[in-house]
Symmetry: C2
Subunit: 314 residues, 2 copies
């Protein structure tokens, strides 16, 4: 039984690397730059070099490493094949095979970054102790990950957990980045909340501290105003909460998770966000799922390396 | 390696039993009555007797049987525990343990009936060849099942695949059997379609053969009228198709299946139903999932015994 495992989280500007014990203890983390030039051809070799250097530094033998888990910003199927990762200048890539070859045949598993974050939160974060989880990540966009029986649901096209593109408002006329209309991402991402806020302020006379911000309004400003009792912020967050709570209730009808984890930058608003969402979730949820806990993610930017590493451990 | 496996599908009036080869060939099927008296205490002993009698009749040894799979009309978790099955007069029951004890320790697995039907359709029906599937069953109610990596997603409360209670119309005022409002079941079950039809006919002047039926209108009558070019039936089926197609698109964002299977009595309308639903599915689906095939279930009432048996075979 190996004692170590690596978790690698590839972003558009830097690669986060983690060396873990197989019991989930993070021993060390570091970053290397993501070299996207030449079609990103150096990214995997750079990662392999960094892993090998860390093993040499620590005196870790190859047979004491369970393997290397890697996540990337793009759709990865359950065979570890990526179809495209625009931010890395990658097209189709068999990540598992290429990285394993660079590492002398070491075990490698690959996943989408949001899916890995969900697995990380299950292993060591907000969903610790569960094996079935829905995670939604509220950032610039809305991502997500579904964990069933301790494993990522990658999906037939690597689109498992793409819950940000669930249509929650068929009548919406604005177009989502994905080309559809009325996606959850358009309502509950950081930019989506700003959109809801601007729409609300333009169509209501409610006095609000948010008006002074004009164009510089942000999701954080909306939640800050809510905490100060701002009536417009209350209405805006209510709309956000309705969309997200109802959507989570639908997802729960599909996979009936033990726990729902909310992460991403927007979730820094804290428990007040969870309370609002939970209210609408419980209204709309199927009776058997009404008490499913909704919790904050707790690993922040480390969720990816945790989840990537966990893929190698049963 | 055992050659035989039993699949048992327990309904409120009869128990369907199937003897299969482990390669999926159905050798024989038969029914026994469901004795619901005395809290349904005889149901599992009756099943055990019937299985043992069939083994004796065919000269099948216990070690040549992979096990017995059983499905029931109620929520079953991934340990094979039922919380309640009203139609069987059962409350909490550890089905796996009780039936295995009756069978001298033989391997037993248990599932919800709609979930087993989904697994059956994956093994030998409309979803044959896939390992990741969403099934929706349009009957008196709307049930469903989710298969990930060849296994039923039972869910933390046995509510995996309870897609009939996804809220698709938050503004709906009529109450669903589950106590919520605007469930998919209220729009797309056999009774839901009748409800849509009555509402449509009451609020439009469109001439329609459906009007002659008065109160005796049925989902079948609506689809029959559609096939005859009835304009009101077209509008009613369009509304049904919008609800179901959009809901399936949301489910696909969650688990990204290889195939979506539509079964149940309403699906006897055939390909014209699939075509209507697929149109709205493709409009609303995330780009990676737009081409996911939507197909008709093909096992009819045998889906349950197939899926129950399949649980014992990897």
């Amino acid at each position: 039984m190996a004692n170590y495992v690596f978790g690698i989280d590839v972003g558009g500007t830097s690669v986060k690397c983690g060396l873990f014990q197989t019991d989930g203890t993070l021993l060390e983390k570091w970053e290397i730059p993501t070299r996207t030039e030449n079609g990103g051809s150096e990214i995997l070799p750079d990662i392999a070099k960094s892993v090998k250097a860390k093993m040499a530094e620590k005196g870790i033998a190859a047979d004491d490493v369970a393997g290397v888990g890697i996540d990337v910003p793009g759709p990865v199927n359950d065979k570890g094949e990526l179809s495209i990762a625009v931010n890395l200048n990658w097209g189709y890539k068999n990540i598992v095979k290429e990285l394993s070859d660079e590492l002398g045949g070491m075990a490698v598993k690959a996943a989408n970054d949001a899916n890995a974050a969900a697995l990380g939160e299950m292993w060591a974060g907000g969903g610790k102790g569960s094996k079935n989880l829905v995670m939604v990540t509220l950032g610039t966009g809305v991502g997500g990950g579904i964990i069933v029986d301790g494993k990522i649901v990658a999906g037939a096209h690597g689109a498992g957990g793409e819950v940000g593109h669930a249509c929650v408002e068929p009548e919406e006329e604005a177009v989502c980045n994905c080309g559809n209309h009325g996606c959850l991402e358009q309502m509950t991402s950081a930019t989506g909340i700003v959109r809801l806020a601007k729409k609300y302020l333009a169509s209501h006379d409610t006095p609000s501290s948010l008006r002074e911000r004009g164009e510089s309004i942000s999701a954080k400003a909306v939640f800050d105003a809510l905490k100060e009792g701002d009536a417009a912020a209350e209405a805006i967050v209510q709309e956000f909460s309705e969309y997200l709570g109802r959507a989570l209730a639908v997802f729960a009808c599909v996979v009936d998770p033990e726990v729902i984890v909310v992460g991403g930058g927007v979730s820094k608003a804290g428990q007040i966000l969870i309370d609002g969402v939970a209210k609408y979730y419980r209204e709309a949820a199927f009776i058997a799922c009404k008490d499913t806990p909704i919790v904050l993610a707790s690993l922040g930017n480390d969720a990816g390396i945790y989840g990537a590493a966990k893929m190698l451990i049963d």
